[in-house]
């Protein structure tokens, strides 16, 4: 969680400095969802992410330096500079390139689950999506198919209350995305997405259920993105009071407090973790800075698959 937070804070800084091109969709505030879910996943489980993928990628085990290099558009990036922020992934650790078309990853996750069902005994597929994506036809179609075929897939809706600037209440007549699970014939579970223990618990049950080949689950994690939708979002569509309320529920200090309360970590331990994470991020940035840019003619490679890569 802390790695995701510090990684993205650094991204934002580098972006503002003009070191990172393009745009950024930061995950700040939602880290407990990625961490709580991915803690249950093995490298050979499949993860399908969204246009806000850095947190998912780090939690699934993609090397932070490869992600950072990708954001820089460097040839050492996890997609060799072909993907960028919205498509980070590394199939070697089970994360496909993130899908930046809202909701379009849902059928892909079902398809990978179908393959898992046939090829492996207990591999699962996990699909993250935002509440905005829940209104996409692709998501409905995929969940229906996942349910009728009992596919080993877990759909994790990160309800951060805003689809770009559109609030949940303008896009839904219902209160909970998870309520739709009943319509597909799968369990729907609501969880506090800022409580990593709670996410860990419900995700564990859903993933275990998928591994047992008992079918899909829809988890709705109620959370909040503490930053804007993307770069230069002034967030004028929501109140600062609301943001302050959610900042009090920030999952990271919350977890730190909990660890101390349970006697699992001292201030010194937490400080040491902080330093280790900072060193990791420093290293990632140095790697990205020092890596070469791709040869422009590499544009022509990888349109079609080649064994040579």
């Amino acid at each position: 969680m802390l790695t995701i937070r510090r990684f993205e804070e650094r991204c934002n800084y580098l972006f503002m400095q003009g070191r990172i091109p393009s745009t950024l969709h930061l995950y700040i505030g939602q880290e407990a969802v990625a961490a709580g879910v991915c803690a249950h996943l093995r490298p050979d489980d499949y993860l399908f992410s969204t246009h806000r993928p850095h947190g998912h990628a780090i939690a699934k085990g993609v090397a932070p330096r490869a992600i950072m290099a990708e954001l820089y558009g460097k040839v050492t990036g996890c997609c060799k500079g072909k993907g960028g922020s919205m498509h980070v992934g590394d199939v070697r650790v089970g994360m496909f390139p993130a899908v930046a078309i809202v909701g379009a990853n849902a059928p892909l996750a079902a398809g990978a689950a179908l393959a898992a069902k046939w090829l492996d005994k207990d591999r699962v597929s996990v699909c993250f999506f935002g509440e905005g994506a829940a209104n996409e036809g692709a998501v409905h179609e995929a969940m229906n198919m996942a349910a009728i075929w009992d596919l080993p897939v877990v759909y994790v809706c990160e309800n951060n209350l805003y689809a770009a600037s559109t609030p949940f209440s303008k896009a839904f007549k219902i209160q909970n995305v998870a309520d739709r699970a009943a319509a597909y014939g799968m369990p729907g579970v609501i969880v506090d997405g800022n409580d990593v223990e709670a996410v860990y618990r419900v995700a564990g049950e859903a993933i275990a259920r998928a591994r047992r080949r008992e079918g899909p689950t829809l988890i709705e994690a109620k959370t909040y993105r503490l930053c804007g939708h993307s770069r230069s979002d002034p967030r004028t569509y929501r109140s600062r009071e609301e943001e302050e309320e959610w900042a009090k529920r920030d999952p990271i200090p919350r977890l730190a407090g909990r660890l101390k309360e349970l006697g699992l970590a001292s201030d010194e331990t937490l400080e040491r973790i902080e330093q280790e994470v900072q060193a990791l991020i420093d290293n990632a940035v140095r790697f990205a800075e020092e890596s070469p840019l791709p040869d422009p003619e590499d544009t022509l490679k990888h349109v079609f698959w080649s064994e040579e890569g």
Binding site: Y46, F48, G77, C78, C79, K80, G81, K82, G83, H87, G89, D90, V91, R92, F96, P97, V99, I101, A104, A106, P107, L108, A109, A110, G111, A112, A113, L114, A115, A116, W118, L119, S125, G137, A138, E141, A142, N144, M145, I148, K301, H302, V303, F304, W305, S306, G309
Partner: protein, 337 residues
Amino acid sequence: MALMTIAEALRQAIREEMRRDPRVFCIGEDIGILGGFGGAFTVTLGLSEEFGHERILDTPISETGLIGVAIGAAMAGLRPIADVQYGDFLFCAMDQIANQAAKMTYMSGGTVKVPLVLRAPVGATGRGAQHAQSLEAFFTHIPGLKVVAPATAYDAKGLLKSAVRDDNPVIIFEHKLLYGSKGPRAERGALSPVGEVPEEEYLVPIGKGIIRREGKDVTIVGKLLTVYRALEAAEQLAKEGIEAEVIDPRTLVPLDKELILDSVRKTGRLVIVEEDNYTGGWGADVAAMVAAEAFFWLDAPIVRVSAPDTPPPFSPPMEQFYVPSAERVVQAVKSIL
């Protein structure tokens, strides 16, 4: 050698590939229901009895979902053959095809492969504007997709088998008037291109065209049904002493450019015949390619015979007006001699 229709040849290709490789499966609407159609044009008829309903997988009517599931399955190690009943329905799943299947290998920097086959029936067949379009040109414009268009039973089988073994997304466009489907699914007004298909295994390589008829006076390039219209036209022209060479590229992406260029260098004249709309068509691309690479061999302007820029109409006389006829091809050839 056995005589087969294209529908039978495709079915045999699927059967052989599914027997050869347990990762190959079919996914689509109405493809395996016992007592059902076997796909809209009988291609998968009877296969679920041999392979079961897990490998001849019927989906709900959910084109985005079924194509997306096929793509995801391909990314994760299976080799799906997805069937959308009518090519027109590909538009329902356009995001999955154009943004997901076509781009996954590229976005991943060449680390993810998508060995997907999409089977899509096309062609004007008395069904009106939403079940009769010719879409093959449309999909040639999307980098990352291979596009094949077989016109004979031999090619249909050999190309489908190659498509299944290809590690990229391949769309195989099948013309509804060429299937030779039998029984209640038979097409009125269809040609019956029953052809010889060898007993032994063979593949037709993706990217290699074929000369259907040799000639020295003009090159006519057709695809799918228009190969037959071009051959009819060549017959008529031969009676007047004009020898047309008829080329069937068989694969649109990647295109066998040299075959076309060599023919044009020989004949000096080119007519392109396609059932797609005129503007932005595949034929325009072939014409541009020839103009760029064989301009000094050309003795006359390149002419394109195509459908007009309208949706396919329903009423038979309008539909006949819409699709390129052999007569129109003859006129086009004569206009540049």
